[in-house]
Amino acid sequence: MPSKEDLKRLAFQAIDDRADEIVGLAQTILKNPEPGFRETKTSHLITSKFAELSIPFRGGMAITGVRGELTGGTAGPTLAILGELDSLIVSEHPHADAATGAAHACGHHCQIGMLYGAALGLMQSGVLSELSGRLVFMAVPAEEYIEIEYRDSLRREGKIEFLGGKPEFIKLGEFDDVNLAMMLHTTSTPAEKQLCLSGTNNGTVAKKIQFIGRGAHAGGTPHLGINALNAATLALTAIHFNRETFQDADTVRVHPIITKGGEAVSAVPADVRMETFVRGRTIEAIMDANMKVDRALKAGAMAVGANVKIQTIPGYMPLTQNQDMADIFEANSNDLVGKENVGHVAHRTGSTDMGDVSQLMPVIHPYVGGASGLGHGADYVIEDYKLAVITAAKALTATAVDLLGDGAAIAGNIIAGHRPEMTKEEYLKFMRQMASEETFESN
């Protein structure tokens, strides 16, 4: 029986043999960016690749999701490798779609490349038959929590319930038969080096807010109006007045924007809208900050006698990563790029719906370098595709071999030793409880 190191070498060779094709897939996606729940072209690209490789797959889950499946030589646990389909909207980005403004300013196109590379490597090399259990290759939609208005309309039409791809996949049962999951995200942060182990991420809820005042001629009869913009700006001030109560350890982030600030400068603003995220390291921290934000929004309305409608939309759960899986990934990273090129980061204050998956099963969500610029910025581009796609695919492949090789002994131990935070049912109940709409009337 070949050793795990032999299996990895074989798989790496298969990946290297078709490196150009793998990178080419990523670059094709780069040129066809599509934001979440709209990734039809991207979805089609991955299904045609699965079809070429004769990987059994299903598509159309959560609108654009794709799930391919490979079975090892013997029975065992199921490991999911995830790639995110969606782009951002950054119209100034050099690779932006001129019509839609969509752009891969967060490197997700590389994830689809590496997912394909891992599938190809394990399959073409024959390594698959030496593994125990199943590999599920999930191309999931809508990781970026954007276009909330559009997604909320999809929700109201009954096409989705949650606004992120992985929560939808969980709800649809796509994770029901999965025991472990992993993915790898690009990074442009030099301190995170070539491959980077990460720890936790903030969770988040999203809020849509509408302040309802009363319009009036701003010059002639301001006293007859109720200024919804004053309500909103005071609400922002009230939020700031609560910041001193956010604890360092909770890494709370509240960062609202005003999406409508009035209609005509000569009229007292009657309808002002805001969106915000409320992020925190733990569910408790998010709930506490969310309560304070709601209170502040109401105080803004009360200050001028306006009404405020607050819609709270469940966002993403805090991410926790499985240490054993991380250790395996780290060892493979050391082998691939050298220990000195492996970074570590304890906590990131952004959010990902991989956090939701992490509530249910052991997961890792490490990072790969190769990008430059600021994440989500117009200058975020991939400069080193060999690292961001090929080395990344190898790191995932090697970790899959470690987990499922040797009778999937390691995966079995990890699964046995893991205590999930929530069951799927508890998760869904919690998410549904978080969804609320409230109108506070102060006049």
Binding site: N242, F246, Q247, R295
Partner: protein, 448 residues
């Protein structure tokens, strides 16, 4: 029978004769300033002078008020009060301040006592008095300045008073029940070349004692356990300012206040913050309306951080309503004494922005509250001093005496005309009810 003009000449001559005495009384009071509801010595000066003049009087009204009364010799008729305010301000830097109490006459009320006594002396001239109908009520009243609110609230708790202004309290006590109309005259420092001004109006107001209660905590190690009452108050003030666009110019809204407690130690999250606030507006309705807006802002401040707030509303003064008929008599007499070019008549819409409890009285009976020159410096400041006692005391004594002669001579015809033409804004009972309704305590918890 002497003509009205002749009566005025006699009264003015008598006042001229007594001018050193009445200026002396004013300057004696200047040297012994006492703030509202503690004008014991000042009241004694008045009472002593009433006794000397043989005027029947009552003392101790609303704590320090002194009310005299004498009938004319021509039979029944209207009862006219000549009011002088007893109280000083507290301005420790004032050149005439009491070094112990900081009390100082930085608003010229000492002159009012001088001119009230001067007018009384003029009217007591036998040939004048015997031709007057009705009664003259020289009335020294306490506490026009709405200050020392905390002390007065304590007096209220002790049952010594209910309203915090002297005339308000005297109205409640019925001391104006037997008065048909009232006049007084206030010194002013902003009259330029003019010597006598009348008309305009003043603001009504409500006073708010505001206490924000949060929760103390170590501001460094456990700010998340605290509830910052200072943030609640600061938010409330921003909210108040955001509402300024609602205030209409004709309402001459003034909303202002001070923070009397802003926390205890910089290392602790402030758990208790106190404000003293004032909402002024040109009509009682506007006061009520704008007071509600300000209360809403205080509640919003509490809600913003999950604190609680207690607002103790204290009824303040009502806007001044000058009786036109009375004012016209003042204008004629001031013109006769000082010449037309020295007289300023302000539009009834001209609101000076401040407040006086003469406004309260003017809602119940015909009243007039003109201004006389003689002062310099900004009112209520250390610079406000009387530089011309002839203008500040003697002239207004004469103008008031002449006006009372107009009202009560000739069978009291003009006084009766004033009464016939006057439409009171409120009856006394309605006034007391209105003010009691303003004395609302609002408690609100903003815990989310």
């Amino acid at each position: 029978m002497l003509s009205t003009d002749r009566l005025k000449e006699l009264a003015c001559a008598a006042i001229d004769e007594k001018s050193s005495e009445i200026i002396g009384i004013a300057q004696d009071i200047l040297a012994h300033p006492e703030p509202g509801f503690s004008e014991v010595r000042t009241a004694q000066v008045v009472a002593k002078k009433f006794t000397e003049l043989g005027i029947e009087h009552k003392q101790g009204l609303a704590i320090t008020g002194v009310k005299g009364r004498f009938a004319g010799g021509a039979g029944p008729g209207p009862k006219v009060a000549i009011i002088g305010e007893l109280d000083s301000l507290l301005v420790g830097e004032h050149p005439h301040a009491d070094s112990e109490t900081s009390a100082a006459h930085a608003c010229g009320h000492h002159c009012q006592i001088g001119m009230m006594l001067g007018a009384t002396m003029g009217l007591l001239t036998p040939q004048v008095r015997e031709q007057l109908n009705g009664e003259v009520v020289p009335f020294a009243v306490p506490a026009e300045e709405f200050i020392e609110v905390e002390r007065r609230l304590q007096m209220r708790t002790e049952g010594k008073l209910e309203f915090l202004g002297g005339k308000q309290e005297l109205i409640r006590l019925g001391e104006f029940d037997d008065v048909d109309m009232a006049v007084m005259c206030h010194t002013a420092s902003d009259m330029g070349e003019r010597k006598f001004a009348m008309g305009g109006t003043s603001n009504g107001h409500v006073v708010k004692y505001v206490q924000f209660l949060g929760r103390g905590a170590h501001a460094g190690s456990a700010p998340h356990r605290g509830i910052n009452a200072l943030n609640a108050a600061t938010f409330a003030l921003q909210a108040i300012n955001a509402n300024r666009e609602l205030y209409q110019e004709e309402d001459t809204v003034r909303i202002h206040g001070i923070m009397t407690k802003g926390g205890e130690a910089v290392s602790a999250v402030p758990a208790e913050v106190k404000l003293e606030w004032r909402v002024r507006s040109g009509t009682p309705d506007a006061v009520v309306r704008n007071s509600a807006i300000v209360d809403r802002c205080f509640k919003a401040g509490a809600m913003a951080v999950g604190a609680s707030v207690k607002i103790t509303n204290i009824p303040g003064y009502l806007p001044m309503r000058h009786d036109n008929t009375l004012q016209e008599l003042f204008r004629k007499n001031a013109t006769a004494l000082l010449g037309e070019s020295s007289i300023l008549v302000m539009s009834p819409r001209r609101n000076r922005g401040g407040s006086t409890d003469m406004g309260d009285l003017s809602h119940i009976i015909p009243a007039c509250h003109p201004y006389t020159s003689g002062a310099v410096g900004a009112g209520h400041s250390k610079d406000y001093v009387i530089t011309d006692y002839q203008n500040a005391v003697v002239n207004p004594a004469k103008i008031m005496a002449m006006t009372v002669i107009d009202l009560l001579a000739d069978g009291g015809a003009a006084g009766k005309e004033v009464l016939a033409r006057h439409r009171p804004a409120m009856k006394k009972d309605a006034y007391v009810k209105f003010q009691r309704e303003q004395a609302e305590i609002v408690e609100f918890s903003g815990a989310g």
